[in-house]
């Protein structure tokens, strides 16, 4: 590791050490040596219904459940869940399966995939980090699980994508305070712009990124990680859909201003866009969201 890199990294860590994080040690990890694949494989135990303590270090020969460096996992968790000892928030729900907010229906796993293990294996065995990122963006299986059975409305899928985005920013020596939520749209094209590891959500017409290098409308996330999605969303200079044109987008916009948990909010956008769709003709024909 070069001396300059090390000094930069130390500077980052010092800046991130607010009073609340006084116990956080200065890290000696070399950001260049951190592999992005760790981020996508670190929570496989959640998809398999295991606790962190009971997690195996390998899944069908793939190393999984390793610690994510640079505090990316801990910081991403704080974006979606309270700090401190977890509490059971839905007493009747003691399961790793995610509770959906949009329609309240819990999808049976069997209806989605034949073999849950095969589906997870397909998702984590990819070696190319950029391809791994794409696979997670498009994945549906991790969205069936919550980050924690204590907070069943959170999403393991979007927690993982947030971990990867933070890790990639931290590797580039961007402290949390320099990270933005940014939006991009590509009208008329199948895929909006996708930035490897930093794109945390894609729909048919827009993408959201967590990045220190925003292009287009962006709002700073804050000085330190905490549950504040609605605040950041409300401060965006532009939202990626036309709230003036259709009431359904105003409904979505209004809901997003109410949500504080990041993974819950990103999962809500995915579910909402899948339900409502982006095809104006179809939407008009049903008039569900007129």
């Amino acid at each position: 590791m070069s001396t300059v890199t090390l000094m930069l990294l130390r500077a980052v860590m010092v800046m991130r050490d607010g009073p609340a994080d006084a116990g956080r040690p200065v890290t000696n990890e070399d950001p260049d040596a951190v592999s992005m694949t760790v981020a996508y494989r670190h929570d496989v135990h959640k998809l398999r219904g295991r606790t962190h303590a009971g997690a195996a270090s390998e899944f069908r020969g793939i190393p999984v459940n390793q610690d994510v460096p640079l505090y990316a996992d801990a910081d991403a968790a704080l974006l979606s869940r309270p700090r401190g000892e977890p509490e059971q928030t839905v007493p009747a729900h003691d399961s790793p399966r995610r509770l959906p907010l949009l329609d309240g229906e819990v999808t049976a796993l069997e209806a989605v995939v034949g073999d849950i293990g095969d589906a997870i294996f397909d998702l984590v065995r990819i070696d190319d980090p950029a391809a791994l990122h794409r696979a997670w963006l498009d994945a549906s299986v991790p969205a069936l699980f919550s980050e924690s059975r204590y907070y069943p409305f959170t999403s393991a899928k979007y927690h993982t994508l947030l971990v990867a985005a933070l890790l990639d920013n931290y590797r580039a020596v961007s402290p949390f305070g320099d990270v933005y939520l940014s939006v991009s749209t590509h009208a008329g094209e199948a895929d909006p712009r996708i930035v490897p590891h930093r794109t945390v959500l894609t729909t048919a017409s827009f993408a959201l990124h967590v990045t220190a290098d925003p292009v287009g409308p962006a709002a700073r996330i804050g000085s330190r990680p905490t549950q504040c999605f609605g605040d950041v969303w409300a401060r965006l200079p532009a939202v990626p859909f036309d709230v003036d044109a259709r009431r359904c987008w105003r409904v979505l916009d209004g809901q997003l201003r109410r949500l504080r948990s990041w993974s819950t909010a990103l999962q809500y956008i995915e579910a909402f866009c899948n339900t409502v769709g982006h095809d104006d003709a179809a939407a008009t024909s049903t008039r569900w969201w007129a």
Partner: protein, 339 residues
Amino acid sequence: MTETETVPGVEAEAESETEAAPASGRRIQQLLFALERPYMGNPYYVSGNALHAAVARRVGEATRRALHVSHGVFVPGEYGSPTEGEISLRGGQKLGGMLPDVEAYEDLFVHRDPAQRWLTESRPREAANTHPLQRYGHDGRVAFASEMQVGRPAEKRAASRRVPWYVQCYVHADDPAVLPVATDALTGIRVGGARNFGFGELSVVDTQVVDVDALAYGALEAADAHELELVSPFVLETEFPGAADQSVPWWWAPGKRAATGELRRRTERLVAGEDVFDLETVDHGQVVPYAGADPVATAKNGVLRVGTHSRFGFGELRVRPARGSRVPAWRERRAGGGG
């Protein structure tokens, strides 16, 4: 800002944030309504215009002319404890279903933030604060249900819990004699779409009068820099007959704003009888640096709202100490947060 004209039905508030406040007597009356039936109107809030129109049928001519109505903010009836100010709750009270005592300026906004950050973390906060959506009618129009069921999986039916929804707003008057408005008359008003079919029915559950000038403004006085949060949209251009367009107030620090991007704009619609007027607004929820000299006076004016259409809830501002964190690092869980 001198181009603002007073027009019938639309109030032109003084634009100068340094305008001297009256010695006392600026009172607001907070109202908390229970949402009795599903609501099919504006998803962001019940507009002050809709509330004004609904209330106007129930009150006398003098009150109708004098009344200024804020936007109605949706609140889940759930347990929690405030994160700011000095409000103390009796244990076990559902903060969403009551109006807490207001002693400091910050207390005015406990319910007026869509994130409702007082909600306790020991309950599924995101589920409680997300509008439950329902589809109605042959065309499947989307409405907000009047209550949320938490724990809805079919096999858990016995363990489900209901969270009722409320709407919080406040009124003030040119003529202080008309306050407080008798709330018995307001129960049963209906707002939003399909209200002639019973949708959007509200009933008053709590009300209290607050003297805006008598509140504690210590947090603002102690800070050396401030920022403004737009609690409701600020009207820039209007189709409303006779009402003049406005520009962004100079004390919103336009120079500093460039660093964080342009202000987001949004079109609102003002319904007056058969007519619908488009309003170009600066959208609510945004935060701008404050460049004025008297944050406390601006704070008081912001409660009573600024700009054209302030009578109907537009232009509500909140002043905050700059760089103040909106989310406490690790708040002690207080009594009253459990349940």
